[in-house]
């Protein structure tokens, strides 16, 4: 795992994240189908990974020594595709083919089709296990790369996640990092309660995830997943821990579903959705306009 010397500034990363968010909402609107809230909550961490953390080369997407990233919450594919396109894996214009027939950009990530996709996902709960296999393989082969897996907080309701959480410390996988995009909402979920952040109950709001993961033997970090300083602080601690604790790390990344666009933030109703012309105009102004409130 190489730490890049020419890391973009936080402002440059924030600008890239705004561009990615615009491609997400624009592409889904053009395709008339797709997810919004989950891709938008994950965008900042994805930008941070692909532009300043992962040891990757878009010109050599199959390099055996590259860092791996698995988007286990595969329905957020358009978020990953937007970041991969901006990073140079394929032309940004190709995003317009998302969900179209014969496209390399399927509704859920397909490793056989899309450059830069390290694992096919779409049925929730499977990516961490795939990442554990990659991390174990790296250990066995003496390879130095790091494997990152992102899951959603709704996704960790899947039982298979916990099979891997239970066993990963036994394999000594300090080259495996799980990022939980804890955006506080799932597609519909449970009715809201008094202490919830948004308009439905948080998927795991009743669970102390730090204690749970610590109890399972993981290194546990909690960050604001929209704050680049906190994101890189966590990434730095992951790097520093390699070869030290011998344990996998979980980064609990607290985020806001639908982050970055006023009408999509903090509501389950934009889990998926197709923006109207007016809404697109609003989103564009907020993300890329000269006076956008998020600029």
């Amino acid at each position: 795992m190489t730490v890049l010397s020419s890391r973009p500034t936080n402002e440059e990363l924030a600008d890239l994240a705004r561009q990615a968010r615009w491609k997400i909402v624009e592409t889904v609107a053009a395709s008339k189908a797709g997810h919004i809230g989950g891709p938008l909550s994950a965008t900042d961490v994805l930008i941070a990974l692909y532009f300043a953390q992962l040891d990757i080369d878009p010109a050599a997407p199959q390099d055996p020594d590259r860092d791996r990233f698995i988007l286990s919450k595969g329905h957020s594919a358009i978020g990953l595709y937007s970041v991969l396109a901006l990073r140079g894996y394929f032309p940004v214009d190709e995003l317009a083919t998302f969900d179209h027939g014969n496209s390399r950009l399927q509704g859920h990530p397909d490793m056989l089709l899309t450059p830069g996709v390290d694992a096919s996902t779409g049925s929730l709960g499977q990516g961490l296990s795939a990442g554990a296999g990659m991390a174990l393989g790296a250990k066995r082969l003496g390879k130095d790369f790091h494997t990152w897996v992102m899951v959603g907080d709704g996704e960790i309701e899947e039982g298979m996640i916990w099979e891997t959480v239970l066993s990963a410390p036994r394999f000594g996988l300090d080259n495996l990092t799980l990022i939980i995009d804890l955006n506080g909402l799932q597609q519909y979920g449970w009715p809201s309660e008094a202490n919830d952040r948004f308009d439905r109950s948080e998927p795991v709001g009743h669970v102390d995830l730090e204690r749970v993961f610590t109890g399972f033997g993981w290194n546990t970090l909690t960050i604001d997943g929209h704050d680049f300083d906190e994101i890189f602080e966590a990434f730095g601690r992951v790097s520093a821990d390699r070869g030290v604790s011998g344990l996998p790390t979980v980064i609990i990344s607290r985020t806001t579903k639908g982050r970055g666009i006023s009408f999509t933030e903090g509501t389950y109703k934009w889990h998926n959705g197709v923006a109207t012309e007016d809404q697109l105009e609003t989103a564009h102004a907020e993300l890329l306009g000269e006076t956008g409130e998020n600029r």
Binding site: D110, S120, S123, S129, G133, M134, G137, E163
Partner: protein, 310 residues
């Protein structure tokens, strides 16, 4: 006479000793599946993942992306049912070179009963794109299949029977995917069988001969892919074929042969297999007799069918 699971353990130990890509993932059943032979002989090739079959499939997929050729080892029923989504998403979809060693396949599982009997696996697995599906007849074919699968660049599902059967083939057997084998020539009736049921069906052929009935027996080790032209050629001009399998009558060998022949027209297919209901815990001989798969019951069913069709 040697059990396929024992052959599997010994063959995998040999393969693993000579090829670092070979790893065996165990779901805490190594002493049953005989993955313990690998663990003892080549410890570095053995990976315990605990009682977590879904995670086992996911980790095998992850390992396969780095060049490993992982074998999954547990009771088949836990792979084709509990972990079917993982096999579908991470192995079938991605064409990962993961090998599924489905131990204790079929009806006979050491009296573990209906929860552990996997009699729907062939129907499930042959419906998955990219999946090669094989049910070897005996110890010799099994070893050839394991060695072939080790080199195959894609997903393979193999039935591994718990208990030994009388060999159908000898050491000279060589395996090629999709190819049906003519095991016995006959003129009165044509039987098609797969897996270790072929051994019992061959005994049924002997019983039929004692009654003056000349039965042809075709063994079909590969449910997918299939050399359908060769199968039709071996069937010849038979008006009726009888399929025999240690599997549900739904969707397995009988289903496959019916599909092939219905597209070509003319041949009636009688399917001998497990009825669409739950079975029970009992010794092998009891189960084979009660559920119609013993040589005697198969022979009797063929005699009845011939009497009906006269």
């Amino acid at each position: 006479m040697k059990a396929q699971r024992l052959v599997w353990g010994e063959t995998l130990a040999d393969l693993a000793a000579n090829d670092q890509r070979v790893v065996v993932l165990d779901g805490d059943l190594a002493t049953s599946t005989r993955a313990d032979i690998v663990a003892e002989a080549v410890p570095g090739a053995f990976i315990e993942v605990g009682i977590a079959e879904q995670n086992m499939v996911g980790m095998a997929f992850g390992l396969s992306t780095l060049g490993y050729r992982p074998w999954l080892s547990t009771f088949g029923v836990f792979l084709t049912h509990r972990a079917v989504d993982q096999l579908r998403m991470l192995v079938s979809q991605t064409k990962a070179p993961v090998r599924v060693a489905a131990a204790y396949s079929g009806l006979l599982n050491g009296s573990s009963g209906k929860t552990h009997q996997d009699i729907e696996d062939l129907a499930i697995m042959r419906a998955m794109p990219n999946m090669t599906v094989i049910a070897p007849a005996d110890e010799h074919e099994a070893e050839a299949v394991f060695r072939w699968a080790a080199e195959h660049d894609g997903p393979v599902y193999v039935r591994v029977a718990r208990d030994a059967v009388s060999p159908v083939f000898d050491e000279s057997y060589s395996f090629a995917p999709g190819v049906p084998h003519l095991v016995a020539e006959g003129t009165d009736v044509t039987l098609i069988s797969t897996g270790v049921q072929t051994s019992r069906t061959l005994e049924a052929v002997s019983l039929l001969a004692q009654r003056g009935i000349s039965a042809k027996l075709i063994h079909l080790p590969t449910l997918k892919p299939l050399d359908a032209d060769r199968l039709v050629e071996l069937i010849g001009d038979a008006q009726t074929v009888v399929t025999v399998e240690e599997h549900s009558r739904i969707g397995g060998l009988g289903g496959l042969v019916s599909e092939v022949l219905s597209e070509r027209g003319g041949t009636r297919v009688i399917r001998i297999g497990l009825e669409d209901r739950w079975s029970e815990s009992a010794p092998n001989d009891f189960l084979l007799d009660k559920y119609g798969l013993s040589p005697e019951r198969v022979a009797a069913a063929v005699v009845d069918e011939l009497a009906r069709s006269v």
